[in-house]
């Protein structure tokens, strides 16, 4: 198959410029990596605009962008639920209510919090599953990148995989989490600058929002209006959207996934840590501009998605086809660089999360305890090499089993949704006991797995896979919630003295609060109001 896009030397110069800058940034950080905290948590020294943008970008991977443009072409404006319902409230909750326990307790990882609040078994379950997931996810995104660049540009698969892995290895090995975070911030700007020209040109050609209104079917133009029943394009009713996506899945992901939480832990103080997800919430609200509008434009300008006939291309190719449709060489190279950057930063994010969890929660807990800090710094660096090698291996496994990608996404969802119940009870109910936490988490994971098997066997029926996914999250969360409470009533309580700083109501008195205009609660409220207004406008 011929490549979709042809690049010229100017485009290649733009791609090369990005790689050069990333390697130089990594190299310049090398001499600052003296302790474990420098390498794994950026020495807890970063300002909130950097951690905030990195927090957002860690989630704004290329697969996410391509997938959301596809969703928009398929489901229309309802795609905004993934942002205004499925992200903003959870991000504000993390910043205002949960971050004091994460950052305030000085834990270095999410599993470490579970160990302090519950017990070793709960930490082990979370650490091992998370480490496995990150390395697999990093391999999956590596393979997805190589596949995309093969189809789009005709680059050979193996070379793409090895070159991307080598670049990520270089800068993470030198600069640890700082490298990863800096790459994410640069990626944030590249994504906007790379994709906005498509938005402007698309809107100009179709005649702005009025053009959408005149030529796109009504059911694709509203976020909530058609959610009364599950007969809408999404196949999910409002309860599934609000509870499944808005509550369980979104809170599960944004508040417990170490990949994003790690960015906030790198902040220079508690106020900056709490502001991190809230700073991220504002640009997150605007991401639909670069994903939903292109999706709708694709319906109107690309012959492949012309209405009245079955689409002749996969929805996932919508963004690439739009790049080909609108961008001349030059800007084309910039858009390709933006996608490349978001793949690489996604991989770097997974690798840094993996080496931190491995070094602190697995190696430093079960294999070699109590060594000097320098030992763990060295282990972290070499874990980076091992993690990247494992990712390359995974990329080739995925290559022979393309469906593995779907399964992995799914298994990922098994862990996140119930984990949020464990955290919610752990942070806000002091009666949750150590074994309550463990059995609740296990019950949640097993419920998700059981629901999935029943759905696949045809015992449970939904209007769409997305609906099944949302309801699976609701069941898994509920099982965790109920079992944690149930077991807690019959097992030994923790001494409240051990829980100081870990549970709401037992926190030490906060030191002097920041001035009102720097307070997380103020900005968090503003973010919620803005998201509510957007929901009403596009109702």
């Amino acid at each position: 198959m011929a490549p979709v896009i042809a690049l010229n030397p100017v485009d290649y110069a733009i791609i090369a410029g990005y790689i050069l800058v990333m390697v130089l940034v990594g190299y310049s950080l090398k001499k600052h990596m003296k302790t474990g905290e420098d390498f794994f948590l950026s020495g807890r020294s970063l300002p909130q605009w950097i951690t905030g943008l990195a927090f957002l970008s860690a989630n704004l991977g290329a697969l996410e962008i391509i997938g959301m443009v596809a969703n928009s072409a398929k489901y229309g404006i309802a795609t905004v639920h993934f942002y205004w319902v499925g992200a903003i409230p959870a991000m504000v909750f993390l910043g205002v209510f949960m971050m004091p326990f994460y950052y305030g307790s000085r834990v270095r990882t999410v599993p470490e919090y579970l160990k302090l609040r519950y017990n070793e078994a709960t930490r082990g379950l979370n650490a091992v599953s998370f480490a496995l997931m990150t390395v697999l996810m990093s391999g999956i995104s590596l393979y997805a990148m190589a596949l995309l660049f093969k189809l789009m540009l005709g680059w050979p698969l193996t070379q793409s995989i090895l070159v991307a892995a080598a670049v990520v290895l270089l800068y993470v090995f030198w600069g640890g989490l700082s490298s990863s975070i800096y790459n994410e911030v640069i990626q944030f700007f590249l994504i906007w600058l790379g994709l906005l020209p498509i938005v402007f040109l698309g809107l100009r050609q179709v005649g702005g929002f009025a053009g959408f209104g005149a030529r796109i079917q009504e059911t694709l133009l509203h976020s909530f209006k058609y959610l009364g029943t599950s007969g809408n394009p999404l196949g999910v009713d409002w309860f599934g959207v609000v509870m499944g996506l808005g509550f369980v899945l979104s809170f599960g992901y944004w508040t417990t996934d170490f990949l994003v939480v790690q960015r906030a832990l790198a902040s220079k103080n508690l106020n900056a840590a709490r502001m991190t997800p809230i700073v991220a919430a504002f640009p997150k609200m605007l991401v639909p501009i670069i994903v939903v509008i292109p999706g709708l434009v694709a319906l109107l300008v690309l012959p492949e998605f012309a209405p009245g006939a079955a689409p002749t291309a996969e929805y996932n190719s919508a963004l690439i086809l739009l790049m080909k449709h609108y961008l001349p060489n030059g800007l084309l190279g910039l858009a390709v660089t933006a996608l490349l950057a978001s793949f690489m930063s996604g991989m770097a994010g997974n690798v840094t999360a993996f080496n931190t969890i491995w070094t602190y929660d697995i190696y430093g807990t079960y294999i070699r305890k109590g060594r000097p800090d320098a030992h763990y710094l060295k282990v972290g660096k070499y874990t980076t090499v091992a993690g990247i090698a494992a990712s390359v291996g995974t990329a080739y496994i995925v290559r022979s089993f393309p469906n593995l990608m779907d399964y992995m996404q799914l298994i990922f969802s098994f862990f996140n949704a119930p984990l949020f119940a464990t955290f919610l009870l752990g942070m806000f109910w002091r009666g949750a006991t150590a074994w309550g936490g463990f059995w609740g988490l296990l019950a949640g994971i097993l419920t998700a797995a059981g629901h999935y098997i029943l759905y696949k066997a045809g015992v449970l029926n939904y209007h769409s896979d997305m609906a099944a996914n949302f309801y699976q999250a609701i069941w898994a969360w509920s099982a965790d919630f109920v079992v944690t409470i149930g077991v807690s009533l019959f097992t030994a309580k923790r001494d409240p003295k051990e829980l100081v700083g870990l549970v709401f109501g037992l926190a030490p008195k906060p030191k002097a609060e920041a001035r009102w205009y720097a307070r997380p609660a103020v900005w968090g409220t503003l973010a919620l109001i803005a998201a509510a207004v957007l929901n009403v406008i596009f109702w």
């Binding site: 950097i50 640069i186 040109l201 220079k268 508690l270 030059g330």
Partner: protein, 85 residues
């Protein structure tokens, strides 16, 4: 963002500050991209822009990126001057 309003006394990490002013690499990268796209836009013929609705997007976007990049560099420069002075 304002760096001085945080909760005080959160340990040693606070004083050290972050080790690299990220505005510099972002500024240089965007400015270089802007300069390249601007030059390319000036050197290329109109026919190439048929797909972008007849607009020389390389030129326009190049100038915009040049301005954004210069903005980052200026902010980094001012900060350095302030902390030195």
């Amino acid at each position: 963002m304002n760096d001085t309003n945080g909760t005080k006394g959160q340990g040693a990490g606070m004083k050290r500050g972050h080790v690299l002013d990220l505005k510099l690499p972002i500024g240089w990268l965007l400015a270089a991209y802007g300069a390249l796209l601007t030059a390319y836009g000036l050197l290329t013929e109109k026919e190439m822009y048929a797909i972008s609705l007849g607009i020389n997007v390389n030129l326009i976007w190049g100038l915009l990126m040049l301005a954004v990049g210069a903005g980052f560099l200026a902010a980094a420069f001012l900060k350095k001057k302030k902390s030195a002075g």
